[in-house]
Symmetry: C3
Subunit: 301 residues, 3 copies
């Protein structure tokens, strides 16, 4: 027992201070793709700040300038990472304009370094944001980079993330607390009325063509569904119906034969639609985003 | 000076045990693609188990549900990694059905965490599998994840891999040894008869369109080939001839001019076919898999 | 016990030195793509040399055999990484021919392990190369790999990089200094004459379709540009004009409306052209490389 406590004490002395706030992990997201050196440049700059950082990727294939999808991917991923992890998200149609570079701290203990352009919309709802600080570029900007206006991912976002993740600066040293809340994208929240659910196509599970809605399992339960019940789905874009059809509510994909449609609850506990071993979205021309609305009912026997 | 050596000694005592079985490295493979957060979620969960794991990727671009290709990529890659490395392979058309989640231990000392759906077919042949354990989900399943049926990559496979790789559990603690061998995909093994070789298109080297067969260099030697000899190749699919032609057996691509075909031995010591700086498979409409059969002879002078 | 602590102390003293020359980081680049196991095999071999290496990727989506693009990506990325980082670049149309496998040391302190086939063309100009050593394959080749001619990325390049990055060998132990300079690709350098600038399309920023030229900001200044001035661009391929048009010189993309063209200075301080939120290269059929020439003037009021 005495030995063990000495051992732990020494581990603590070695690893010490950092464990409290930050954990040396950075996870990068962008719309840069993986065909050029942009992501590697951000990582090189980060490792120049501290060479024991551990660097990971969320995705770099956000469709260019698609802030909504950046917001979705963060919400999908951030809460599964350890407290103290620092995310960098650079999807920034307004680069060079006056949207603020910020760091948000989530209620689950992670940090997100990003332009404040709507990227935080969904994470602000769930798990929620404790506070947002505007990056003070006088201290938190790569030296010698002021002549170059077009790569803030490197000069501000990756650099600040590395300083924060490595403990060179504390969260407080990022900059001042923002008084105004982070900018938000407007979208239709899912709602129940008159035995009908309305919402949007939250995102496509792009590898498979599955359609994920923003209707939660909890909301879906208000229709009183049982496995095997037929779910009627209508998808429209700006008032025009793109798809209408019905399919069974299933526990797993294997409950229907290959090629057949099903409704199911995805890993984010959202009502979703798929063709077993097929491409539901591609087959029916469905895309995702705030302008793609869905309506769901259960067929009465 | 004395203090420092004591500190190092203690680090050694703490880290010591692990070196024997597992090495804290995890390599991920899936058909999830890199467009969303699924891979990053698996990694976040793994790092939540132990923050000093080292995480790598094999590929996440296995064609959706293509178990054969998952099997090939594992066989191609696993033996090159250090003993004790833990691979996670999640290509799982039967998610939610009753195929077992397992961990296999290879004869070369690596572990593979995967649904037992044929993914282990090729690695079982070479380098071979020592044993397979069924994952006991009572202990080896992420807590609080039981309501969600569709992301076992996160809740069972990544989570168990992290526990194993970090030494939280030993291989024995994964679960009971399976009595039945792992499930296998049926395919035509390469064979020699009557100065002719038969086999299948094992895989395409997709970046270049090269055609790799399952005919080994050793088997090919039974035809007594010399560099410069003309190799006659016939490719058929379900009895219908798709390609027939001849090309020289070469030591390197540079032995023929750009655009010309050649036969060569690839890095897996398999007889392969290519167009120097061209796309053999695309040009001739050849795909890979168990239904794509090849026949090879050497032209007599 | 005393012996062991002395041993550890000595390890510590030995590892201390490393910080000076190499830093245990390897960054991989290739044209292998990410669909198969080739990249993971290189990494497994590297970790077999030393399990505390830190492995990263530049890109693996260099268009097959495109040495020019490999050269560009290195120049874009290498100088941003810490001194002592080892890069591996395997884009090698001449695999198996007698181009030499080499290690170059840059003036900014990084190492590049590559076939000497032109890949070093641009990095040799800026930041510059201190020296180039030919890899001695008698010592720096993976044992047991001599029968296999087609995967030098694994057997020579990744293996040597791992030995160098981990400190198993010093830079001097790579092999002898090459007397001849590294092979170079011929291309038109940017030039000013008669109030006109000439150069080439250096590269496409592929995610966005932006056109980056090899005309530096400094050279561009010889035209005396002010923000808002109209820049006239002509792009031709082998004498035939592909695009001709004019657009304002802007500080940031936000200075023009969505869909409109602009000229700007990119993060490499090169004169570049884009459509704000659009695809300039795709819209006008422009590609990159030494045969794509550009001519730039400023419109006189």
């Amino acid at each position: 027992l005495k030995l063990r406590s000495i051992r732990l004490l020494i581990i603590f002395l070695i690893c010490g201070d950092l464990a409290i706030g930050q954990n040396k992990m950075i996870v990068f997201q962008s719309d840069f793709g993986l065909k050029d050196g942009a992501v590697a440049v951000m990582k090189g700059v980060a490792l120049g700040v501290s060479d024991d950082l551990k660097l990971f990727d969320l995705t770099h294939e956000i469709p260019p300038f698609n802030i909504w999808e950046a917001a979705v991917r963060l919400q999908q991923t951030v809460p599964w990472w350890p407290e103290g992890t620092v995310f960098v998200s650079v999807v920034d149609p307004g680069v060079g304009t006056d949207r603020a570079p910020v760091v948000a701290k989530t209620k689950t203990g992670q940090y997100i370094v990003t332009p404040d352009n709507g990227t935080l919309t969904l994470i602000a709802e769930n798990p929620g944001i404790v506070s947002v600080r505007k990056i003070n570029e006088l201290t938190n900007r790569l030296q010698g980079s002021r002549g170059s206006y077009t790569f803030e991912g490197r000069d501000v976002f990756a650099y600040t993330a590395a300083r924060l993740a490595s403990g060179v600066i504390s969260y407080e040293e990022v900059g001042a607390i923002k008084l105004l809340p982070a900018q938000k994208l407007a979208y239709r929240e899912a709602e129940y009325a008159d035995r009908k659910l309305k919402g949007i196509v939250y995102i496509l599970d792009r590898e498979y063509g599955n359609v994920w809605t923003n209707i939660t399992e909890k909301l879906f339960r208000r229709l009183g569904p049982h496995y095997g019940d037929l779910v009627i789905l209508k998808v429209s874009r700006e008032g025009r119906v793109v798809f209408e059809g019905e399919m069974p509510y299933c526990k797993t994909f294997g409950d229907v034969e290959a090629g057949l449609p099903l409704a199911y609850i995805n890993s984010l506990e959202q009502l979703s639609f798929a063709l077993n071993r097929g491409d539901f979205a591609g087959t029916h021309g469905i895309e995702s985003g705030v302008e793609w609305e869905v309506e769901v009912t259960i067929r009465e026997e």
